[in-house]
Amino acid sequence: MGSQLNSEKTTAVSINDDGVTLRLKAPITLPVEAESICPDCFVGCQQSEILALPVFCGRRRKMLGDIFSVSGEASDRITVEGDLTHFKRIGQGMSRGRLTLRGDGGMHIGAYMKGGEICVEGNTRDWTGAHMTGGMIRIRGNAGHFTGAAYPGEIRGVNRGTIIVHGDVGNETGARMRRGLIVVEGHTGECTGAGMIAGSVFVFGKLGARAGAGNKRGSIVALGETAPMLPTYQYQCRAQFGFLGVYLRQIRKWGIAVSDDLLKGSFRRFSGDVTALNKGEILIHD
């Protein structure tokens, strides 16, 4: 919907660098479909137009101005303040700009995202960054299940882009991802990287059970503890992997503590899933 709203406009409005701030007027517990909160929608909008953007509150159609006070206009930099736990699809399909949530976010944040940056200072719920194809999502707190995963029935999900979660994530993180990078500073739930086609998942906390089930070519890197592994992974070797250094130095730049010990450390490589293509791997830090 974001791109649709955008394409209807002839962007005569000049871009305002101060950004747009939305403040939630009152707490909302009804589910809200809020894909209009998206830089691509806001960038060509004067304030009156932003106030009139549609959202569905439960089954009722409302305008953004009904539930938010808005300052600023015509910018692809958006800051949203308030508890947005029940707001779904914020930043869905966004291709540019920066979206900051000063609080918790709901489901499907940054799903189908193509570019730009999303930063959530609190937690998010399920399907964060599902099917994203570019850009970066950073969650300061925890993310729900299916972070960076493919939607039910889809053969492939995330195809490029980066998701960084500083807290923990739920089950099936990165399921059926095709390309891209997911970094989890905390623990992961079960079936991390289930059915991965390719791409990389780095886990600094505990890697949950059954990681990499059905993994074809993906890399799962466990830098902390690991739950018992699937019997369909085979131990191959212990080595220092040059490419991990490149990744880890970049991850350090993104603000995650990467000790020199990790940078220099050796890893045990397990290949799998033998029931899939067996070209995937789980690398476990010694």
């Binding site: 939607y151 039910p152 029935g153 889809e154 053969i155």
Partner: protein
């Protein structure tokens, strides 16, 4: 009363080829002008427009166990294909139902999509007897359209037992009972014997192969069911899906099967999937010429094409081994079905790619069949929805048939390997609107055996589609200006404006009731449900119409 005046009418059953005629409607039927009080009639001025009977689809998978399995296993088919509910009237408040899906759309959406494309009657291509109740329950939720279903019989244990014992009269009585019990419309035969053999990890590849445990052959199953079809005087003819579907080199066995039916009436469905040349393990070639030649030479045979349309779809058939092979080939998810003592089936998603030589040849075979089979009354437009592609692609196929330049433009985009030595560029034929009317309604209605459909003569159901006459035939057939069902305007400018129930047609041939005792024993011995629960009663069809048999 309604008058559709000044339109150019294409009514092949009555030999009207684009003449300006006025069509009058009263009480849901076409009537003669004398019966109408013009001053009281709603007049639609169709000046410059094209008027045809409502579209009639002879073979499409829209309801029942397989379709529903497809819906369940493909939430991805729904994504991006949501159809919201829309208000049709304010007082009383009437809405269309919301729905989702493209290749395996939900029931109401299936009806709306068909009607908005100008179709008013659709036949479900394959219902296992045991799943007939499910099929009818979905029919109840497919409004506006008239529907009916063909009942799968080519791998039925009771019938094969009768054939083994040379008791074809008993088989005839059983088939008559079965059609009445399932409220089905005709006999469907899918890979006779092969589906049964797949239960032992085998198949049949030849008309004289043995069916495991029954000592019968595909040839005898075909002959017997064809004889029964005649004996019972069913409105439709045996509806046949032959052997070796989808395999390189299957055109030979298809031709052999067509020849085996010489002198008998038969309809061969999705002939495209049965017309491949080459050998196993070698590149596939089109063998449309081979099968088209046999069809041209046998006036008792009709076919529908099952055209492939490039893109994502869901394949489904009672031919279990075919679906298993496709699943093994693509790695896509797969649903397999064993319907007790009757049949089997499978479902697996599939993407037809222009760049894939096999898919490109499949596309070529379909178009070549359309262009090589000379008599439009014997070749019908289908995509074997959703097997070759969703029915919503019919307008695209129509344009391919009517517009050689458009066809050749598409040809240039397909796999180079498939283009090499292809016959298609040599085929200059372009379908006329009259011929399109035959392959999409007149011919199909006639062959299904629905005499009151597919034409605009006095007494016919007032199912009428009015198109704007546009140069782009795809746009024209995708969005008719007006669609009438039983004389009621149901869609305008490609949008539903009125929802009303459609009819379900079925047959109930006479039989010697002595058979019931034996059927009861058969069901009690072999089925998971009781005899009493097997038959679909008349009460379960809210709008059923029994069609007479002519033994």
């Amino acid at each position: 009363m309604i008058g559709i005046i000044n339109g150019r009418v294409y009514d092949p059953c009555n030999g009207i080829d684009g003449k300006v005629r006025d069509i009058w409607v009263k009480d849901g039927r076409i009537v003669s002008p004398a019966e109408v009080d013009r001053s009281a009639a709603d007049i639609i001025d169709a000046d410059g427009m094209v008027v045809m009977p409502g579209g009639v689809d002879i073979h499409s998978h829209i309801a029942g166990g397989k379709v529903n399995a497809g819906r369940k296993m493909r939430p991805d088919d729904s994504r991006g294909h949501e159809r919201p509910s829309r208000e049709l009237s304010q007082s009383p408040r009437v809405y269309t139902r919301s729905g989702t899906g493209r290749s395996v759309a939900s029931t109401f959406k299936t009806a709306y999509d068909y009607v908005e494309m100008g179709y008013t009657t659709v036949m479900e291509g394959a219902s296992p007897p045991l799943m007939a109740r499910h099929t009818h329950e979905e029919f109840e939720d497919i409004p506006i359209l008239d529907k009916g279903g063909y009942i799968l019989m080519g791998n039925n244990h009771f019938i094969m037992d009768c054939i083994r014992r040379n008791e074809k009269e008993k088989a005839r009585d059983y088939v008559a009972w079965l059609l009445g019990a399932t409220k089905g419309f005709g006999i469907k035969i899918v890979n006779p014997g092969g589906v049964e053999n797949f239960k032992y990890k085998q198949n049949v590849t030849d008309l004289d192969d043995k069916v495991i445990g029954f000592d019968v052959t595909p040839r005898r199953i075909l002959e017997t069911l064809s004889w029964i079809n005649d004996e019972l005087g069913l409105p439709h003819v045996p509806h046949i899906h032959g052997l070796n579907l989808g395999l390189n080199g299957n055109a030979d066995i298809t031709a052999e099967t067509l020849i085996a039916m010489t002198g008998r009436e038969a309809h061969f469905t999705h002939l495209q999937f049965m017309s491949y040349g080459g050998e196993m393990g070698k590149p596939v070639r089109s063998a449309a010429e081979v099968t088209a030649r046999v069809v041209n030479a046998n006036p008792n045979i009709t076919v529908d094409v099952g055209q492939v349309v490039f893109g994502d779809t869901t394949t489904m058939t009672a031919d279990g081994p075919v679906q298993y092979r496709l699943h093994a080939l693509t790695g896509n998810k797969w649903f397999n079905d064993d319907v007790e003592a009757e049949t089997g089936g499978g479902v697996t998603p599939c993407v037809y790619r222009k760049s894939n030589p096999f898919n490109a040849v499949q596309w070529l075979v379909g178009l070549e069949l359309f262009l090589l089979i000379e008599d439009p009354w014997r070749v019908y437009l289908t995509t074997d929805h959703p097997n070759g592609g969703p029915f919503t692609c019919y307008p695209q196929v129509i344009r391919m048939l009517m517009d050689r330049d458009f066809r050749m433009q598409a040809f240039e985009g397909i796999s180079k390997l498939a283009r090499k030595n292809a016959l298609l560029p040599e085929l200059d034929r372009e379908y006329s609107l009259y011929e399109i009317a035959i392959i999409t309604r007149a011919g199909t209605a006639k062959r299904i055996g629905l005499d009151w459909k597919g034409h605009l003569g006095v007494g016919a159901d007032a199912d009428i589609t009015v198109y704007a006459d546009m140069e782009d035939r795809e746009a024209m057939f995708a969005r008719p200006r007006y669609v009438f069902k039983d004389g009621v305007l149901v869609a305008r400018d490609g949008q539903i404006v009125c929802e009303r129930p459609g009819q379900t047609v079925y047959v109930s041939p006479d039989y010697d009731t002595a058979i019931e005792k034996e059927v009861r024993r058969h069901i009690e011995d072999n089925y998971t449900i009781a005899f009493e629960h097997y038959a679909v009663s008349e009460k379960e069809l809210s709008n059923g119409r029994q069609v007479a048999c002519k033994p």
